[in-house]
């Protein structure tokens, strides 16, 4: 690798030295920043502005100058419902199905996942033999690609798959798991917990290990009951980490797409269609390509994510200061 990189670095040095002479040492900082800022500007900030203008225009042309201005009509289409609780009463019923699916999914997935991650972290924090091994075992699915995770479980859950064979064997009988709407939804939650739990376990374990030992020793001296120790020491001292984990899990949960798309394709029907898949399908998968609706929906998701990220940054700051 160095054989290629060294000459390359030496070539870059020539213009950099010229710039250094021209600008002086301190203003050279901007030259170091330039590539990164250019990429951020072009692929993060400019898109945010353009996204706004997409959401205010209609038609199926991707070129902005060819798109007629429609004002807030995209947002009206998305939000005109006689009852927000019932997607059937909405013009864009698929959007609201996706919204409700996502809300249910995020609630269940984050709750179950953080619960099990906490339990696992607490058990791993005990005096466990081969802790490193167990930690890696719970962690390794995090590294698998979403498509691989989806295929692994599709293979296990298929009609003549190993799970049904096992259920037949103990006499319960098999199911067509992914054909039934409720089961398919339950399995997407399971799959997502399976794939991501290890990541949060790792963070919570780090949080538990950061709690000083002498606090527990003091509690032991005072003859505090284990339950009391857990509630009055472990939980309060872990709560900053818990908050970080919850917010991170929420941010990722809202954006769930890859593994579910490869696992159920959003089906059966729209039972497992989540909000990012709605955006993808409106903008890129179907014809006509409704970029305006996709952009308007993106904007709504973006607002949720900005709020969550601000909370995360605020917690981080408080953790550092406190």
């Amino acid at each position: 690798m160095l054989v290629i990189l060294n000459p390359l670095m030496r070539i870059i040095e020539i213009p950099m030295m010229a710039l250094q002479r021209l600008l002086g040492v301190n203003r050279l900082a901007w030259v170091f920043l330039l590539p990164n800022l250019l990429l951020f500007g072009l692929f993060a900030f400019l898109p945010v502005i353009l996204n706004l203008s997409y959401s205010l225009t209609g038609g199926d042309n991707v070129l902005l100058e060819a798109r007629p201005y429609v004002g807030g009509r995209n947002f009206e289409t998305l939000t005109s419902c006689s009852s927000f609780l019932d997607p059937n009463t909405c013009i864009e019923d698929k959007f609201w199905r996706a919204v409700w699916n996502t809300l249910w999914f995020v609630t269940l997935q984050v709750g179950i996942m953080v619960g099990f991650a906490l339990l696992t972290a607490i058990i791993l924090n005990r005096d466990i033999r081969a802790r490193g091994f167990f930690r890696s075992v719970f962690f390794f699915p995090v590294l698998l690609s979403p498509v691989v995770v989806a295929l692994i479980w599709k293979w296990i859950l298929q009609r003549e798959g190993v799970l049904n064979a096992f259920l037949d064997w103990i006499g319960i009988g098999g199911f067509n798991w992914l054909i039934d709407a409720e089961w398919a939804f339950a399995w997407t939650v399971f799959l997502s917990v399976w794939a991501h739990m290890g990541f949060y376990t790792l963070i919570l374990l780090a949080g538990l290990q950061a709690i000083p030992r002498d606090v527990y020793e003091a509690a032991l001296m005072d003859r505090a009951s284990p339950w009391r120790t857990f509630r009055r020491i472990t939980l309060p001292l872990l709560s900053p980490t818990m908050l970080v984990v919850l917010v991170l899990a929420l941010i990722k949960g809202v954006q769930t797409f890859d593994e579910v798309y490869a696992f159920t394709g959003g089906g059966p029907g729209t039972a497992t269609t989540f909000i990012i898949q709605y955006i993808y399908e409106e903008g890129f998968a179907g014809a006509p390509r409704l970029f305006g609706l996709a952009a308007a929906a993106s904007l709504m998701v973006a607002i949720v994510l900005v709020v969550l990220t601000l909370i995360q940054l605020w917690i981080n700051r408080r953790n550092v200061d406190g």
Partner: protein
């Protein structure tokens, strides 16, 4: 109840095994089963023949019918054990099957052709790996092409990201200049703009740049990450300024200081970021799905996803391809798992 909570809170062993230890270890071993079994099952299944995959209930290990080479026949002949009829107990090789009858020969005495009912026999099976599932991938599909696309994207994007992020981190950690706080705030701002919420305009920009259906369209938009800048900056701040001053005394240019001093000294942080970048890029799905629409540009993930639609009945190829897709990441994990764990814990993911 008190015992349950002592299990949840105890951080030291008490030198003896009580029931809370049993519960803990049971939980952990159940976890090992739940986490490992699906992957082991995938790998074992990927070595089964299509016929073996159809078997219900499935066997744990891959089985294949045994064959025998008999003089005078070009192809190896499948072996059967006779369970009834005139030849009960013998092992015969099948020449051909006609309806409910089969023409068999005794491998030891190939001259004589025997007619038996197919109900009187069962196949002789042994554990064997169906390697043709894997070799078939290279013959029937453009597998190497997908593998190359994924590798090219992962390697190029990781290198560009490391260089660009390291340069920015260097500027933000080792220079005093007006506007530094503003830049830091801008970098924090990009944390709030994940690709998933700007797909439409990103699509326009990439197509205006002529990078649609090109691997560069996947590589470039994600090349700068706020996570990378923060991770590297945090590390570079700890490098003492005196080293830089000494180098400046020796008339080293700033660029030389960057790649001869700062980069080598930041190696641990760069290694962590490189591992994360490799993981993100290799497993990336949504953005490649939008940018790459022609199958010759597909990454492994896209190929795998599109084949699972087309090859519903061809699980043997699909499973083998899945194994090959997870193999590189598994290898990285085995060798570098310590770095991965600390890296992910310190950055809080992407």
């Amino acid at each position: 109840m008190a015992n349950l909570w002592s299990m949840l809170t105890a951080t030291r062993g008490k030198g003896r095994w009580d029931w809370t230890d049993w519960v803990s270890y049971s939980y952990l071993f159940l976890g090992v089963f739940l986490m490992f079994f699906p992957v082991i099952w995938l790998v074992l299944s990927s070595f089964k023949t299509e016929a073996d995959l159809q078997r219900y209930p499935p066997t744990f290990l891959p089985y294949q019918q045994e064959t025998v080479v008999v003089d005078g026949f070009d192809e190896p002949l499948p072996l059967f054990r006779m369970t009834a009829g005139d030849y009960e107990g013998q092992t015969l090789a099948q020449l051909r099957r006609v309806g409910l009858q089969a023409q068999m020969i005794d491998p030891a005495n190939p001259g004589e052709r025997l007619r038996v009912s197919i109900n009187d026999r069962e196949p002789v099976q042994g554990v064997a790996l169906a390697l043709e599932n894997y070799t078939g991938l290279f013959e029937r599909f453009n597998f190497l092409r997908f593998f190359w696309n994924s590798t090219f994207i992962t390697v190029t994007a990781t290198l560009i990201m490391l260089l660009v992020n390291a340069m920015a981190a260097f500027a933000l950690s080792k220079y005093e200049f007006r506007g530094r706080t503003t830049v830091l705030l801008l970098v924090i701002g990009t944390l709030m703009i994940p690709q998933t919420v700007v797909l439409v305009p990103l699509f326009l920009i990439v197509s205006e740049l002529g990078m649609l259906n090109s691997l560069w369209g996947v590589i470039i938009p994600g090349a700068a990450t706020p996570t990378g800048v923060f991770l590297l900056r945090q590390y570079m701040i700890t490098i003492p300024d005196e080293i830089l001053d000494a180098a400046r005394m020796d008339k080293a240019s700033e660029w030389k200081i960057f790649w001869r001093i700062i980069l080598p000294l930041s190696a641990p942080a760069i290694a962590v970021l490189a591992i994360l970048a490799i993981m993100w890029r290799w497993n990336d799905f949504l953005w490649p799905l939008i940018v790459l629409t022609q199958s010759e540009n597909f990454t492994l993930q896209l190929a795998l996803n599109s084949f699972q639609g087309e090859l519903q009945t061809d699980w043997s190829s699909l499973l083998a391809m899945t194994v090959l897709t997870l193999l590189p990441i598994a290898a990285v994990f085995m060798f570098l798992q310590k770095y991965i764990a600390t890296g992910i814990a310190s950055t809080g993911g992407k």
